[in-house]
């Protein structure tokens, strides 16, 4: 066991599965000798060779379309899109083909493939490098969407994503890529998709988040607990298909719910979670379900970026309002 970061956990999961399953191939821009711009694939080409870890020309549509072709031939392509801001070009191939190849051929051809992309704001990156549009993929039937928030979950969920027989969008919170370290046993054990993680338990409030925002959510929970407020802290992790049961059970217990995400509010994943709660657990609610999210604006360039991201203070303020609601 070694203490590793989230980005190292990505690397270790990829290495494990490249070793364990000869049908796994990685492809993407600069993932080979350069090891990816975040070094997520560092050393993998040296270890597994150029036919397993493939640098592509600069073309995201092609990366996604070629992955579909590879996947139908029994390979398991794991592609990297350099930043989520460059994932939009892949949407036609993902929506019109990857997500529905199995359905359109009644199971004859399938797309076991993973599209990895670092996502999110807060690293003082250039323009177009701060996107968190996971909700776009959640709305597409046939795609699974996974966002880890700790090294251990990264390792286990990425293994699960690669082993999944269907396409998975795997978004990596670049802001906390190196912020958290955990002992991760490199045992090749996958964590279940379709399951939220309850990180803390408490009976006063349900706080739901995922990805990089979990970092602020955890701080907020620590501070609430210090004041004696018990919080169910849920890391959604697999956004699609969504584990409503875990969420609903928690809200039925606490009656109060706050959802935190960094994506713009309107049409974000928080809306779906709130809508499900209000459809299935309305009578348990003791206060309105609140969302603390990014605003419905373009993420500002880095000088004002911090005003976009939900802060611990804002989360605490919203939690307070929910707790005081009577």
């Amino acid at each position: 066991m070694t203490m590793i970061t989230i980005v190292e956990a990505v690397n270790r999961a990829l290495a494990y599965e490249l070793e364990a399953d000869p049908s796994v191939v990685l492809l993407g821009e600069d993932i080979g000798v350069n090891g990816g711009v975040f070094r997520a694939t560092d050393g993998l080409q040296a270890q597994f060779g150029k036919t397993r870890v493939i640098d592509t020309p600069l073309a995201e549509i092609a990366i996604s379309g070629v992955s579909v072709g590879l996947a139908t031939q029994g390979l398991k392509p794991v592609s990297e899109i350099q930043f989520m801001g460059f994932i939009y070009a892949t949407m036609e191939q993902l929506i019109s083909h990857a997500a529905r190849m199995r359905n359109r051929t009644r199971g004859r051809l399938t797309c076991p493939m993973v599209v990895r992309a670092p996502y999110g704001a807060g690293i003082h990156a250039p323009e177009h490098h701060s996107e968190s549009t996971e909700a776009l993929f959640v709305h597409i039937p046939g795609l699974k969407v996974v966002i880890p928030s700790t090294p251990r979950r990264t390792y286990g969920l990425l293994l699960a994503a690669i082993r999944d027989p269907d396409p998975v969008i795997f978004l990596e919170p670049e802001r906390i890529y190196r912020l958290i370290k955990q002992d991760v046993e490199e045992d090749g054990v996958a964590l279940p998709l379709e399951k939220c993680f309850i990180e803390r338990e408490g009976s006063d409030l349900t706080l739901i988040s995922w990805g990089a925002s979990m970092h602020e959510a955890r701080q907020a929970v620590a501070s609430l607990e210090a004041k004696g407020v018990g919080v169910d802290l849920i890391d959604v992790a697999t956004l699609s298909p969504l584990d409503s049961e875990t969420i609903l059970a928690s809200v039925e217990k606490t009656g109060r719910c706050l959802i935190v995400h960094e994506a713009p509010k309107t049409g974000g994943m928080g809306a779906e979670i709130a809508a499900r709660i209000c459809e299935k657990a309305l009578l348990s609610l003791k206060a309105p379900v609140k969302r603390v999210t990014g605003y419905d604006i373009i993420v500002p360039l880095y000088k004002l970026e911090k005003h976009y991201l939900p802060s611990v203070k804002v989360i605490l303020q919203a939690a307070q309002e929910i707790l005081e609601f009577a």
Partner: protein, 356 residues
């Protein structure tokens, strides 16, 4: 000013529109008799197209794209491939699929609005029809890359239209294929029209074959109404790909004799004279002239064969019509390998609601 790169595009024709063989019969053909099978296949495609259009007219299938006039291109591609190769069609190439073992009934099912039509009983690796234009070219690059990575001596063959050559997937795909030197053949079926947009408004390139130059690939033009040239050129490209000598782009010059689909009214954008002149180039006519002149085919045989075809297509139509519908649950059952818990409720609802 130094010349540093030089390119030539060649066009291939063996059988001219009058049915004269202007060059010796090339491989894979050894004698005129070898042409009978592809010729009959061309007749089969045309018979199917008429039937399918009739079925659409009577509301028994949905919108349908006839391939009338493109039979030589289709047969040429089909007879250049081996069974273990993978074919990735656009939406007008049922003529290739038939030769690969896909049944007429399956093609009717597909256009009749039933997903089972894409679950080919044979040709299990061939791709379903691609409606989003040119997207299949990238799948073909992926399939061919898989062959190369796995060391399999197979070839991926894909088609797209003159219109399709304008799209991202075609261009990004060729570039990947060039860099990776994969076993791939891309055929641009240049039938002069993309719905109402004529070839001249689609690209300023003098040929579609030259699109290969951008990718450092070989590009060849061929008379797509000449079955002999089509088969020969495609076979050469497929063989080349199989030996690891890299990808080829082939432009098949042909003509879309029917409207774009049964939903299209071609009289809005093109004159009958143009269609009439194209008829003089008909791929079936010229091969028939040649085969008759060579005395390997007769009017009687033609009559008898067409009779048989009529029965074949009628039976396919009947079998299609006799199919019982898919159960409602099927709309959920193939989306994922295993239905997510989250969808169980919706699936139950769908069944329940269908009884409302």
């Amino acid at each position: 000013m130094q010349p540093i790169a030089h390119f030539e595009i060649y066009s291939h024709q063996f059988l001219n529109s009058a049915g004269d063989l202007t060059l010796p019969l090339p491989p894979p053909f050894h004698s005129p008799r070898d042409l009978l099978k592809p010729y009959q296949h061309m007749l089969r495609i045309r018979a199917f197209d008429s039937k399918a259009v009739a079925l659409q007219r009577t509301g028994q299938i949905g919108t349908f794209p006839s391939s009338e006039g493109e039979e030589a291109s289709m047969a040429g591609i089909a007879f250049a491939m081996q069974a273990e190769d993978v074919f990735l069609p656009s939406y007008r190439e049922h003529g290739v699929l038939f030769a690969r073992g896909v049944s007429m009934e399956e093609v009717l099912l597909y256009w009749g609005g039933d997903e089972r039509g894409s679950n080919y009983a044979n040709a299990r690796q061939d791709f379903p029809i691609a409606v989003p234009i040119a997207t299949q070219v990238l799948h073909a690059v992926g399939v061919a890359t898989a062959f190369k990575l796995k060391g399999e001596k197979k070839v991926a063959v894909t088609t797209c239209g003159d219109g399709g050559s304008s799209r991202a997937d075609f261009n990004e795909g060729l570039n990947f294929a060039g860099v990776w030197q994969i076993p791939l053949v891309v055929v641009v079926v240049n039938n002069q029209w993309a719905i109402s947009v004529p070839r001249s408004s689609q690209s300023k390139a003098a040929t579609f074959a030259q699109k290969a130059i951008a990718a450092g690939m070989e590009g060849i033009q061929v008379d797509g109404n000449d079955l002999i040239a089509m088969t020969h050129v495609c076979r050469q490209a497929v063989d080349k790909a199989r030996t690891g000598a890299g990808p080829t782009l082939i432009e098949a010059v042909t003509y879309r004799m029917a409207p774009h689909t049964t939903a299209d009214d071609a009289s809005r954008y093109r004159g009958q004279e143009e269609v009439n002149s194209a008829k003089a180039l008909d791929p079936i006519l010229r091969l028939k002239t040649f085969l008759m002149r060579e005395k390997v085919w007769s009017l009687d045989e033609e009559e008898a064969f067409k009779q048989k075809l009529q029965e074949e297509v009628n039976e396919a139509a009947k079998a299609y019509q006799a199919m019982s519908p898919q159960p409602i649950e099927s709309i959920f059952d193939y989306l994922y390998a295993k239905l997510p818990r989250a969808l169980e409720e919706q699936k139950a609802q769908a069944v329940e609601r269908s009884e409302l």
